[in-house]
């Protein structure tokens, strides 16, 4: 009897067909996208483009390095780091409570039946949409708004980063937690622990390295973001860069680009350090 039940399965991988269909769909969808964006990479290599590139890049040498300029860059760099850090910390303070609400792993009402309480479900959906709203408006738009409300300067940038990044952090925190092994959390909940206790004793030890490295990556993005916002008057390195670009001072721009590389490299090193500490 067992054999007859086993036979019809044979060796057809049930996932095969959906994989083929998925790949074909991807290619079919991708083609019009390339056409629509007028994606013609060979234009980069014609003579006119090459000479324009050479002129622009040629301006970058030598990088400006007189002490007065460097001192000014130092101040602007600190301002940028401070803007990014303050923004990220505010974003975390907003995102963490939202993560607790939106996370399904910490649902007590779904123990046993897997059916979440209706009220709990509605609250989760509302918070989910709030997170979508927060991150769907680019930080640049927030920055333009805040520059108008509170005037030129880094404060506008801090608020812009805090708003957009809280949406991103909230979403990704929830996803990291949901993709980590749920069993340790589940057994704590099943044995009568509260949501927060289960989070700190079951979820966090599993998800901490991911959460920390993602937060530091976002801090790195915030540094880049604060540069872009500098162009609309939110202070820091970006504002200096905007001025230098307008004055066609390529040497100054290249010094500032080097500072960016250093900043991103530092963020990477810090992230690595944290992860090693937690291994």
């Amino acid at each position: 009897m067992n054999e007859s039940r086993l036979q019809p399965v044979a060796f057809n991988d049930p996932a095969w067909r959906s994989r083929v269909v998925g790949s074909l769909t991807f290619i079919i969808v991708l083609w019009p996208v390339l056409a629509l964006t007028e994606f013609k990479p060979w234009l980069l290599l014609d003579a006119q483009s090459l000479s324009a590139t050479a002129r622009f890049v040629g301006n970058f040498f030598p990088p400006t390095h007189d002490p007065e300029f460097l001192a000014m860059i130092m101040t602007a760099t600190w301002q940028t780091i401070a803007m990014a850090t303050a923004g990220i910390v505010l974003a975390m303070i907003t995102a963490i409570p939202l993560t607790f609400i939106v996370n399904q792993q910490l649902s007590i009402s779904s123990i046993g039946s897997n059916h979440m309480h209706r009220f709990a479900y509605i609250v989760r959906q509302i918070v989910r949409w709030k997170l979508v709203l927060l991150r769907s408006i680019p930080e640049l738009v927030w920055a333009l708004l805040f520059v108008r409300i509170i005037g030129l300067g880094p404060t506008a940038g801090v608020f812009a980063i805090a708003l957009t990044y809280s949406g991103m952090l909230g979403k990704v925190y929830a996803e990291i937690i949901e993709s980590s092994d749920p069993q340790a959390t589940k057994i704590l909940l099943e044995n009568g622990c509260s949501r927060f206790q289960a989070f700190f004793y079951g979820t966090l030890p599993n998800a901490a390295p991911e959460l920390i490295s993602y937060t530091i990556y976002r801090w790195e993005c915030a540094i880049r973001g604060s540069v872009v916002m500098g162009f609309v008057g939110a202070g820091g390195l970006g504002q200096r860069m905007d001025e230098s670009m307008k004055m066609l001072a390529g040497g100054e721009v290249s010094t500032m680009l080097m500072v960016f590389v250093l900043l991103v490299g530092t963020a990477d090193a810090i992230s690595h350090l944290f992860r090693r500490g937690l291994e």
């Binding site: 086993l6 039946s113 897997n114 704590l188 044995n191 622990c193 927060f196 206790q197 004793y201």
Partner: protein, 284 residues
Amino acid sequence: MASPQLRLQNLFSQHPDVVTAIFDGSQSPSKSNAKFALENITLTITRGEQIAIIGPSGAGKTTLLHTLALALKPGSGTLSFYETSPWAMSGTERHSLRRQLFLAPQTPPLPARQRVVTTVMAGRLPNWSLATALRNLIKPASPQEAYRALARFHLQDKLYARVDKLSGGERQRCGLARLLLSDAELLLVDEPLSALDPQLAAQTLETLQQEASARTATLICSLHQVDLARSKFTRLIGLREGKIQFDCQQVTDQMIADLYQNAPLKSKHDAYPLPMPHDKLLCD
């Protein structure tokens, strides 16, 4: 006579994975209704009893323990705890009832990066406020207690080791040490001896039984070691294909033989059974 701690009447229950599959939409409820992991279970359990559940793999032992632990809602039938039905309570009341139960899964899901002392102290969590719980993460509240609990399973030197440095058997006993720190009055232990050698298995079982009688807690243990179950437990429940085959104090060799005879080779996840090597497909 006092009211029984637990009473199950005509209880039907589905395998936890099936319940999840319905929720995910990957399986329609009508299709899966046909199959129950537990069928028509009727049981009465008095506080302080020590019960072994035996039966072939896939008989529904784990599902029964999860149902008793209020971790799985029964499909139909009644489950009552001191004559009140937990599934009729509000969610909050039911959750505070869970403090009186302790479920120890077969492979205890302990976070890999946590230290043993924290993992064991987590048995106290249901009695702690959040502030105490957080303080315990910074500095263990009473490492002596965790040490004593571990010592009863010969694991005391691992107090400050990380969980992922433990072997399978050590991890299993670490999960049981957490049980010692809880103050539950219903201990549900799923195959606590599966990763232990015979000598350690006997000692571990003895510790569990001592602990249960010391706090007059009920101990319900699923076991594959039939000999141990018969010599150490005063009540044995034989489970096969989700049904109770026997529930008595003394079992005969014949009853055991019948319980395990021709047990169907059933995989827990029936979805894609692999063809056997002797299948005609390969012989042709």
